[in-house]
Symmetry: C2
Subunit: 279 residues, 2 copies
């Protein structure tokens, strides 16, 4: 078993690559798994994408992403449910159980986070039966609080677990993404709880670069370039019993402008140094 | 009693004003309290600053700020304690009980947030006796998690209350600053807890502007310009029993570039519309 047996490339890390290029890059680099984004899948077509990945012998660690569940109007809610049901079927076709949900922020002009969060809970309840029938797990991803208004009103792992609690652990899980959660004073306790509750569906790694990039979405970095303590968080995730894939997902303009094969070599080196020893 | 009887101008809102200009501006605008920053006090000299404010008949709602307690070396720790003791004496001279602490982030090159937070707790314990002797309350301010690495490893109100718990409520309090805490899923519960524990030392208001400014420190806005729900948070603070001053603290380049008297008129109008009805 290679040291990279749990490493997965999230396709956003090599944003300029097509899915075919990303699959080829993973195979060449000895990375056994991939977490594709839906736009890259759609470009190629779902069946062809599934076949391409399967023929290359790669696992699909997750599909990114459904979500955006906070529409306040009936039309927006129906559209969100339709899109998420489509994403569930795409996950099935791609042979992954894990569908990431970025749950969405406030509706336009809205300020009532309590009401918006209730809509997340309501839409999640709407989606669970369809996910369950299809054997797909909806993965609630807490996002850093700087994205609460516009991207995800789930800001902590504890909050994600509370939202997941009414549902079967095989159907609603949570993600631990180091960029989003490293700062959380409850992190150790909530990772342990996530383990006890069998909810850890994904461990995503990248660093939190300082100072923040002018576009705060792009402040993710290679492991080792920022402030994240991968030894500590990785140990907590291991102690919680997580043995699944470890996805590297980096949004960073400089990395996007770098040759993809070179990016994968850096990812592997940082993973071997900073993540693998504690995984 | 005027509708503005609890309104206080934090001097950072009119950053280009000297303390004398800010005092004059408050008097002219009928704002009865001021929360000065230490640099503005030092410019004028402590005794003169105290006399100026007292002669103008203004209350001092708080002093901003001590803190930066996370130095890992003995020299840095001694310097931090000395600076915070000086700040305590300045608070006494200015006749305010409330000294804000921005507790500091990681030491240079450090990634161990658990250890850095322990140093905050240790330095707080060092400072409490001196604060108590001088009748000053150390006000722990949770900062938005995007500042965790470089400014404050207290990121939630619950965490601030946990840190405060070993100490007398008259000596260690917490601040509720809408910009920093609006996103927190535990906010309602923790504001209620802060009230029960008699820890609410300050309620600061400003908005959280979206999209984030390129310099994330400057994303604060006039109440009403961003995503904060002042009705809801203000009601929670009122229900928690807080009846003290309400400080307006805004870091925003455009506001800093506006004539200070005009800024105060806008502050008063927004306060009257969005804050006062729930206070």
């Amino acid at each position: 078993m290679s040291g990279f047996s749990r490493l997965s490339l999230n396709s956003a890390t090599t944003k300029k690559w097509t899915l075919a290029q990303a699959v080829e890059g993973c195979v060449a680099a000895g990375i056994p798994a991939i977490g594709p984004w839906r736009d890259r899948v759609h470009e190629l077509g779902l069946e062809q994408a599934a076949k391409l990945i399967q023929d290359a012998g790669l696992r699909v660690s997750s599909l990114c992403r459904g979500g955006f569940l906070t529409a306040a109007d009936a039309e927006g809610q129906a559209a969100a449910l339709a899109d998420n049901r489509a994403a569930i079927l795409e996950a099935v076709a791609l042979n992954t159980q894990e569908l990431f949900l970025v749950v969405g922020g406030l509706a336009p002009g809205e300020r009532d986070v309590v009401a918006a969060r209730q809509r997340v809970a309501d839409r999640l309840a709407d989606l669970v039966p369809f996910a369950q029938e299809n054997g797909v797990r909806l993965v609630l991803e807490p996002l850093h609080p700087m994205y609460a208004a516009d991207r995800a009103l789930i800001s902590t792992l504890g909050q994600a677990l509370d939202l997941a609690a009414p549902f079967d652990a095989a159907t609603v899980g949570v993600a631990v993404d180091t960029f989003h959660v490293w700062w959380d004073p409850e992190l150790q306790a909530q990772i342990a709880r996530a383990g006890r509750e069998n909810r850890i569906a994904s461990y995503q790694v990248c660093d939190f670069n300082m100072p923040l990039a002018a576009d705060p979405l792009l402040s993710r970095g290679y492991m080792g370039d920022g402030v994240v303590d991968f030894a500590t968080i990785g140990s907590w995730v291991r102690e919680a019993g997580y043995t699944g894939d470890i996805e590297v997902e980096i949004f960073n303009q400089e990395i996007w402008d770098t040759d993809g094969n070179q990016v994968l070599e850096t990812v592997k080196a940082r993973y071997a140094d900073l993540v693998l020893p504690y995984a």
